[in-house]
Each structure stands twice: as C-alpha cells, then as structure tokens.
C-alpha cells in the first residue's frame, strides 16, 4: 500500500530535488520529469489491477481514521490520478529552451494533483490544493512577460481570497461536527450539516475551490491567464486543474452535502457559467480567448451535469468532465500557432490541413455531434436534467441546449475561417510544431477510439459512478465495516 504514497511522493520529491540537481545533472534533468510520470502511470495501473476496482483506504502517520489523515483510493480517485500523470506527460514542456524550474513546477503540480485526487480528508485536500495553486501560479507566470505577471497577480489574489473562503467553510464544518475526515463527516452530515450552516459551508467551499474550477462568478481570471500563459500551461489548467477542483467539490457533495439546495446552488452557478461563458465566447474575437470563454462554459456544463442528483448526475458529470479534459487541451495546443484574431487566421487551415482537420474533429465532439464521445456526454446531461422535477433543472436543460447553438456558431465561424481562401495579403502562417501536432493527433486518436469503444467505456464509467455515489461503501472502507465512528 505504500505505492499510494509513492504516487504522490515521487513527483513531489522529484520536484524539490530537480532544481537542486539541475546543475549537476545538466540536460539529463529534462528527462527526469517524464520518467517520474511514466513510473507514476505504471504504478497506478498496477494498483488498479491489484485492487480490482474495490476501494481501500490508507491512514497516514499511524493514526486510525477519523483521527489521523487518510487517503481514500477508489476507481474515481485512481482514474483522476492516472489522468493527471498522463495529461502531464502529454503536456510536458518538451521545448529545448524551457526553464528547468518549469519542470519542477510541473512535477509539483502533478504530485499535488494526485494527492488531491486521493485524499480522504479536508485537511489533506486543503494542503494539496494550496500546493496545486502555488504550482499553477508559477507555471502561469513562466512566460515572464509583463502581462503574464499581471494576470498571475490578479489570479493569485482571487485565488487567495478563494482559499480564505474555503478555509472559512472548513472551519464552519468543523464547528458543527468536530472532524475533518470525509468518511466521518459522511456519517455525521445527515444530522449535523443538513441545515443552513452546512449549506453556507458548502457555498463557501464551492466558491473557494470553484476559483480553480472556473466556476461562475469567480472565473474572471480565466481569459487573461489563458491568454498570457503558454498554451501548454493553459491546456493543463483548463483540462486538468479545473477538473481536480471539480472532483473535490463532487466528493464533498456526494458525501457531505447531498441536500437538494446545495445541488441547486451548484446548478444555478453552473447555468450562469454556461450562459455567460458561451455568450462571451460568441463575442470573442481571437482564438485563445474564445477557447478560454468556451472553457468557462464547458466547466459550467460540468457543474450542471454533476448537480443532477444521484448516480445519473455523477455519470453525466464524469462523461462531460472527461470529454472536456481531452478536448480542451487539444484545442489549446492547436492555438499554439493560431493565437490571434480571426482575421489573421484566414486560410491557416489550408496551410496545415492536419491541424485544421483535428480542430474540426474536436470542435464537432465539443458541440456534441454523434457518434463522437461529446454527444454521449451531452445526451446524458440533457436526459438527466429533464428527468428532474424541479423547474430549475428544466431551465438548465434549455440553457444548455441554447448554448450549444452559440457554441456551434463560434466554433465553426472559426473553423470556416481556417479554410477561407487566402487573400493577397496573406499572413505567414507558421506550421505547428511537430510535438504539438503529434500530441493533438494522439488525442484525436484517443477521441476516435473512445468513439468506437463507447459501449465498454460507458459500462466502466457506470461502475465508477456506482462506486462514487455509494456513501456506505466509503464510510465502511475508511472507518471499517463495524463503523468506527465515535
């Protein structure tokens, strides 16, 4: 079981050692990161194999839960830990002139993210979340332009205040229950958190962590940060970091805050995010910001999907989140050479047809054209939303549907621009770097494979959703079958 800690510890260790050893190792250091990530992937795979899908818990420091701090490893956690490593590997800054410090930050981010996925109590989550934040600040500012620093500063302030709110929320929970262990909280929640205080705590944590998850209204940092950071970092932020924040919120919601009010709060914020994100993207005039706003809208959709009560919601949310996790990084990577106003991009697709084709593929999946995976995600969401009685859910379904129309419009306005015949004053379009295009192609292949394997994937996701929604399983796994609750 030490493998679990290894998953978190290995990247962290490498991250701290790398800057020190950099001088000694020289150019070798740039291989350390990928190797660590690869090891991580193998570790998680073997773990998954060994556990055969059954969840298990791990207490750190020798204290039995609920006293100590613990890890909880189920399929969802493993899946996200795996995705963290894979995505980090794909989006690794391979460029030769990369500052070695960036490698360290990347590894730090990976370690923190894995830790966040696996953590079983609020304290751990908080610590890893902060680590993740610090790593992301560093990465975002790594281009070292004035705009990047300014954007990072603004991001940091919002994020910092978000942390304050999340902490306040945690404090509220603690006041009510006297514990921070998720399993223990889950047993206490029905009696002690199903009230206004609990709801407030949830709202505070939602908003605090939501800063990372691009939740409306605390996502104003998104367009400027994504526009100033390097595309790989933007891809990582939009694809991965946001999803991990969502994961935490979902864990909390399933285990501690299953009240309908909490769900509807999240739903309302999600709907607002969809609406504002997609409409802003419709108005956006350059590719990167269009993607940023679109990302806000998509994250809104993720929240909307997760706010459907019960297993259907987890399934739908998981589908939307995983899909976005694949598609948005790919689009950001394509933006590496296509950053700029639409006018600049006329005919760019004719220069690099592969890139343009991939763009079309991802855009089609993003708007949910069957049989691409995006469609199934959207279908699950809509069917789930319409299955609810509360009118807010129906409103949400309508908003999601209308937003899709806007989404099609802006994505393909851009897509067609790529194929426009070039004017005489043609821009010089640099072709995509081979590594970018290769990564995106791999992602495209993954997308298409997912399309063909959608039936078995669906079953697998169903089991994950089953497991995630099973509160009893969580409690008994962490606290023991007898129920170690004091």
């Amino acid at each position: 079981m030490n493998m679990i800690t290894l998953i978190v510890a290995l990247p962290l260790l490498a991250a701290f050692l790398l800057p020190i050893s950099d001088r000694a190792l020289g150019s070798v250091s740039r291989f350390v990161g990928p190797i660590v990530l690869l090891m991580n992937i193998i570790l998680i795979m073997t773990l998954w194999q060994k556990s055969e899908g059954a969840p298990f818990a791990l207490a750190l420091g020798g204290f039995r839960p609920p006293l100590g701090i613990s890890f909880y490893v189920d399929q969802l956690a493993l899946l996200f830990a795996l995705l963290v490593s894979i995505l980090a590997l794909m989006l690794w800054p391979y460029k030769a002139d990369t500052n070695p410090r960036v490698f360290g930050l990347m590894l730090l981010l990976t370690g923190a993210a894995s830790g966040m996925a696996l953590s079983g109590d609020l304290f751990n989550i908080y610590v890893f979340f902060e680590l993740l934040s610090v790593a992301s600040f560093g990465l975002v500012a790594s281009l070292r332009t004035g705009a990047a620093f300014a954007a990072t500063t603004r991001y940091l302030i919002i994020s910092g205040f978000g942390t304050v709110m999340a902490l306040t929320g945690v404090a509220l929970i603690y006041t009510q229950t006297g514990t921070l262990n998720l399993a223990h909280l889950a047993t206490l929640a029905p009696q002690q958190l199903d009230n206004a205080t609990g709801l407030t705590a949830f709202a505070l944590i939602l908003l605090g962590i939501g800063v990372k998850a691009e939740l409306f209204p605390v996502n104003t940092w998104v367009p400027e940060v994504y526009a100033t950071a390097s595309r790989r970092v933007s891809a990582l932020m939009a694809g991965l970091v946001s999803k991990l924040a969502v994961l935490v919120i979902v864990r909390l919601m399933v285990l501690i805050f299953p009240q309908p009010e909490a769900m509807q709060l999240m739903l309302a914020l999600g709907v607002a995010g969809v609406l504002i994100g997609e409409l802003s993207a419709w108005r956006a005039r350059d590719f990167v910001r269009m993607l940023s706003f679109s990302s806000i809208g998509q994250l809104g959709l993720v929240f909307v999907a997760f706010s459907i009560p019960g297993e259907a919601g987890i399934l739908a949310g998981l589908a939307v989140a995983l899909h976005h996790l694949l598609v948005k990084p790919a689009l950001f990577l394509l933006a590496e050479r296509w950053g700029g106003s639409l006018g600049r991009l006329e005919g760019a697709g004719r220069r690099s047809p592969l890139a343009a084709g991939l763009f079309v593929l991802f855009a089609l999946s993003l708007v949910g054209v069957p049989p691409l995976p995006g469609f199934w995600a959207k279908l699950l969401t809509i069917v789930g939303l319409l299955g609810q009685a509360a009118p807010l859910y129906w409103f949400a379904a309508a908003v999601v549907l209308v937003a899709t129309v806007a989404e099609v419009n802006y994505l393909f306005r851009f897509g067609l621009t790529l194929f426009k015949r070039e004017e005489q004053s043609a821009q010089v379009h640099k072709p995509h770097a081979r590594i970018d295009l290769g990564t995106v192609s791999v992602m495209g292949v993954v997308l298409l494979t997912a399309m063909f394997l959608i039936a078995p994937l669906g079953e697998r996701m169903q089991t994950i959703a089953d497991q995630t929604t099973d509160r009893g399983l969580y409690i008994s796994t962490v606290l023991g079958p007898v129920g170690g609750a004091r």
Binding site: A284, W376, I382, V383, A455
Partner: protein
C-alpha cells in the same frame, strides 16, 4: 448479414473510396458506379416497397444502457430510393465534363463526390434508425454532412452554411430536448414504448412534444418561420450538390416528422387537441403553417433573379404541400404528400441539373444575363420544360398527381381556405417557373451565347432519365403509388387504394393514363392541323416586329427584368421581409446580451461577489 447491412456497408465503402481516391480523375465514374451498386442492393430489397416485412440490421448496440437498433421499413425504403437515385443522378452529372471544368476553376470534384457519398451514408443511417436515439444520431450526421456539402464551395457559401448549421443545431437541440422528455415519460427511447404511451399522454405533453420534434425537424425542411437559411445555402452549393440537396436533403425533416409525429404520437392525438381561443386543432395549426410555407416562399421565388435561388425557394415552398398532405391524415392526402416527396425530388433534380448545364456552358445563372438558349441547348430546354410542368403541378407530369391528391383530400375534408392557399401556391409557381424558362431559354439569344453547344452527354444522361421518370410517373402514377401505399402502411396512415392510372373513386377519381393519352392525342391532332397546312418560313430572331426599327445583335431585346411588373405594383409592397427583420433582431439581441456577458469579465471585481456571498453566508449562520 442482412441486406440492410450490405447496403450500409456499401455506402460506407463508397465514402471510404471517395475519401481515399478523391484525387483520381475517374473518381466521379467510380462514385456513380458505387451509387448504382447501392441502388441495386436497394432493388434487392424492393419487397419493402410492396408491403414486404421490415428488414432488420444485424448490428445492435447498447450504450449507457440505451439499446440502439437499425431497420428498414417501407417508408425508409421509399426515402432511400429517392436519396440514392438523386445521388446517382448528381454524381453522374458531375462525373464527366462538369467535373473537369470544376477542377479547372479551382474546385475539387473528388471532394464533391465524397460529400455526396457521405450524405448518402448518413441519410441511410438516419432512414434505418430503429429507435429515437438512432434517429437523433442519424439526424445529426445528416446535418453535418449537408453542412460539408454546403460549405465546400467557400466564399459566400461559408456564411450560408454557417447560417444553416446554426439553424440546424437549434433544430437538433429541440429534438434532443424532445428526446429527453420522451425518456422522462417512458423511461426508454424505443419507438414501441413511445407508441404504447402515446395514448395516455396529457394534452400539454403532446403539445410540447409535437412542438419540439416538429420544429426540430421542420427546420431542416425550411418550414416557416425557419426558412431563411435554405435557399441561399442550397444555391451556393456546387452544381450537382445543389441538385442533391434540393431534391432530397430537406425531406429528411419530413421523414422525421413522419416517424415521430405521425407514426409514434399519431395524428389522431394532434387532431384531438384544440387550441384555445381558435377553432383550430393542433393538427389544423400545423396545416396552416404548411399552407403559409407554400405561399410565402413561392412568392419569394417569384422575385428572385438567380435561377438557382428561384428553384431553391420553390423547394422550400413545395415542402409545404408534402406537410399539408400528410397532416390531412387521410389516405388520399397523405399519399399525395408522400408521393410529392418522390415527384419533387425527380423534377427538382432535373431542374437544378438543367440550370447547371446552362451555367456550365454560359457561366451564369443570372436570369437577366441569359435568354434564347433553346436554339442552342434544346435538350436542356426539354428537361427544364418537363421539370417546370412538374413543379407547377400541371398535367401530364407527376407533380400534378401528387398535388391533385392533396387538393382532393382537402376537398373531401372540407378545408376550403387551405385548398385556396395551396392553389395560390401553385399559381405563383406557374408564374415563377415561366419566368425561369422564359428568361433562360426563350426570347433573344445573346450574341455571346450564339456559339455555345448543348451540354455533354454525361450531363444530359441523368437529366433526360430524370425527366423521363417525371413523365412516366405522371403517366402511370400507380408505379410510385405502390411504394407510397406501402409507406403509408408502415407509418400507420390509412392506405390509398389505387390503380396504375391513379385513384378510382365514386365521387371523382383520377386516371392519368387516360388523361395523358387523350392529351397527347389532342397534341397529335393539333400538330396534324398545324403541319398539314401552309409551309412555314423560319426567320432570324432579330427579324421581328420592332415598331419599324431594324434590330441588331447589340440591341437588348429580351424582356427579363422585373418580369411581373403589373403584379408587383399590386403585391410588391406586401414583401415586408419581416422574417429577415425578426432574425436580425434576434441576432442583435443575442449580441447585446453577449456584450453584457463579456462585459462581466471586464468590469466586475470577483472579490466583490465573494464578499457578498461571505456576508450573506455569515448572516445565515449568525
């Protein structure tokens, strides 16, 4: 492996072949051959067209717990026949010289063939769908395949295709919402389950479902008020693509309506529902929408100066007849509506192809820049003549038969105003198609066109075959009515009792065989009268009564612009372009809201919002 699997596999192979071999010079012929092969497979399945059993696909999936299945019934077969036929004609048209010229002008004929093959594949998938989920998947595939075909020309086509896909996505989302509702009501997306509960649904549920599905599918058909995209988008598609789209693409919407509204929910439910404050039932309302769809686009077509656009607008209008017939829910009317799908496809394809034959030779479809081509392109003229007679619904072509069936059912049902509305549409059509043929083929031949030749045989062949079909199914409508009757049975509509010549009825039937025979006998006598007397002398077109002047080739002596000046004096100011206005208002409104939304990211300080939340939260906790 069933025949259906074979058909779809062959369509898939066509797509792959065209995708891989789009650079080959013979790709056009190859694609045509593949389409012909698909048609062959379809004929092997022709038992369906005569009431045979449904053919199921051996492929069945289950995704996220939703079973997906595919099958072909008589209705699917009927639509598939039209689809593949239209694709074959279009592909053949593009295969030879047209494709070569298109390549010279910087186009990519292989891409066109690929899009055609893709469209056919997606349409077959749609037609084969055996449950709502499969239907939706097919629907979206068809939408995006058409988008490819529309956008491939570039330039102005982009903005039209954009407009189309925006509308189409709106429609698809409406359908998705409808599906979600069905799922909520029945817990499944199977046809059978919806059919089973259709009788128990509340009126409100039926209304919402009909509106969602109905408007979703209607967008593809260009039914008012969703018609603005269609004419332009079709007209900007490269030649044969227009013919294909114009003849069948938008009818996929009709297929959807047939399946969901007619087969699953049942028109009987729609008739039961009264709309408050009117005498109309929901069904009547839909019929009125159809009638307005006949009239307004037809009179819009009347004002067009571009042959392609004129025809495309008629395509929108003719869809109204199909809907009108089908919503009448009678054996006569629905057979008229269904048969009109077939008829419209044949003559519309013939018309578009003949227009593109002219464009191929002269380089323009502008009705003010052509004229007198009948002497240079007599066969194309013949095709267009047959086509416009069909489009206008005048005997002896097939368009008359289907319209007759619709009129007759409206008469029996006692719907005078709808009857008048549909006749007004026909009259408008006659006016506008005469303008079309007059401005292109009749009148003065322009000096620069005096040397052009008839279109090459590779283009003539599909045109002639299509016009032959237009005539034969007009002469012997029973040939097509057999399929129509089988399709009616498949969707649960009353089945039309018909004969080879049409319909035998006590209270006034129709026997086209007799009528056409007599008509041609009459023409024969007329010809006899004409040719047996006095020898005629052919004169130059400029040897004309010109008020004592002598004409020369540089004198423009062709009445083409503002053709119906008198009519326009009367009705010209009725063209208010209200729908255009409505659409632009909608766009502006969205722009305004979007401006506000993106303004949020510039103005609002998020910490302010957080502060508000904190204060509120703590006030709650106290």
């Amino acid at each position: 492996m069933t025949l259906l699997d074979g058909l779809i596999l062959l369509a898939l192979i066509s797509v792959l072949v065209t995708m891989l071999g789009y650079r080959l010079p013979v790709i056009g012929w190859l694609t045509s051959a593949l389409f012909a092969g698909q048609l062959l497979v379809l004929f092997l399945m022709s038992g369906l067209g005569y009431g045979g059993d449904t053919i199921h696909s051996s492929v069945a999936l289950s995704i996220f717990g939703q079973p997906l299945s595919w099958r072909f019934d008589a209705l699917s077969w009927f639509f598939a026949l039209i689809t593949i036929g239209a694709a074959l004609a279009s592909s053949l048209f593009a295969a030879g010289e047209w494709g070569r010229q298109y390549r010279q002008n910087g186009g990519n004929p292989g891409l066109l063939q690929f899009s055609l093959a893709l469209n056919v594949l997606t349409m077959l998938i749609l037609l084969a769908s055996g449950d709502l989920l499969a239907l939706f998947i097919g629907w979206e595939l068809v939408s995006w395949a058409s988008f490819l075909l529309m956008a491939m020309a570039g330039g102005a086509a982009f903005s039209w295709a954009m407009r189309y896909i925006t509308y189409a996505t709106g429609g698809a989302m409406a359908i998705l919402a409808g599906m979600g509702m069905v799922y909520q009501m029945t817990g499944s997306l199977q046809y059978a389950d919806l059919m089973a509960v259709a009788g128990q649904l509340s009126q409100a549920q039926v209304v919402i479902l009909s509106l969602l599905f109905g408007s979703g599918f209607a967008i593809k058909m260009g039914v008012l008020p969703f018609h603005l995209w269609q004419a332009g988008a079709y007209a900007e598609t490269p030649g044969p693509g227009t013919a294909f789209l114009g003849s069948i693409s938008s009818r996929m919407g009709l297929y959807g309506i047939l399946v969901v509204l007619v087969q699953l929910i049942g028109l009987g439910r729609l008739i039961e529902i009264d709309i408050s404050f009117t005498w109309l039932s929901l069904r009547d309302l839909l019929m009125w929408v159809a009638a307005i769809t006949i009239i307004l686009p037809t009179f819009t077509a009347l004002r067009q100066n571009d042959a392609r656009r004129l025809l495309a607008w008629h395509g929108v209008g003719q869809g109204g007849y199909m809907l009108l017939g089908i919503f009448s829910a009678t054996a006569l009317g629905s057979s008229g509506g269904l048969m009109h799908v077939f008829n419209h496809a044949t003559y519309q394809a013939a018309l578009f192809l003949s227009v593109y034959a002219v464009v191929h030779r002269t380089g323009t479809a502008d009705l003010n820049k052509l004229g007198g081509l009948v002497t240079r392109m007599p066969l194309s003229f013949l095709v267009m003549l047959v086509g416009i007679i069909g489009l206008a619904g005048i005997p002896p072509m097939n368009g008359f038969v289907s319209k007759w069936l619709v009129y007759r059912s409206l008469l029996i049902e006692g719907m005078p105003l709808l009857f008048v509305a549909s006749v007004i549409g026909t009259l408008g059509t006659i006016l506008s198609v005469y303008k079309l043929i007059h401005n292109m083929f009749l009148g003065q031949l322009r000096a620069e066109h005096s040397e052009i030749r008839e279109a090459p045989w590779s283009m003539m062949l599909p045109m002639l075959v299509l016009s032959l079909i237009v005539f034969i199914t007009g002469f012997m409508p029973g040939l097509a009515l057999d399929w129509v009757a089988a399709a009616q049975a498949a969707v649960g509509l009353p089945v039309l009792q018909h004969s080879l010549g049409g319909v035998e009825m006590e209270q006034g039937g129709l026997d086209m065989t007799w009528l056409v025979a007599v008509l041609f006998a009459g023409f024969g006598i007329g010809a006899l009268l004409f040719y047996s007397t006095g020898k005629t002398r052919h004169v130059n077109q400029l040897d004309n009564y010109a008020g004592g002047h002598f004409l020369t080739a540089d004198v423009r002596y062709h009445y083409s612009d503002h053709f119906y000046a008198g009519l326009m004096h009367r009705i010209g100011h009725w063209y208010r372009e209200s729908f255009q206005w409505l659409e632009s208002v909608l766009i502006s409104l969205t722009g305004f809201v979007a401006q506000g939304a993106s303004g949020f990211y510039r103005i609002v300080q998020p910490a302010l919002l957080m502060l508000v939340v904190v204060v509120l939260a703590l006030w709650v906790v106290r």
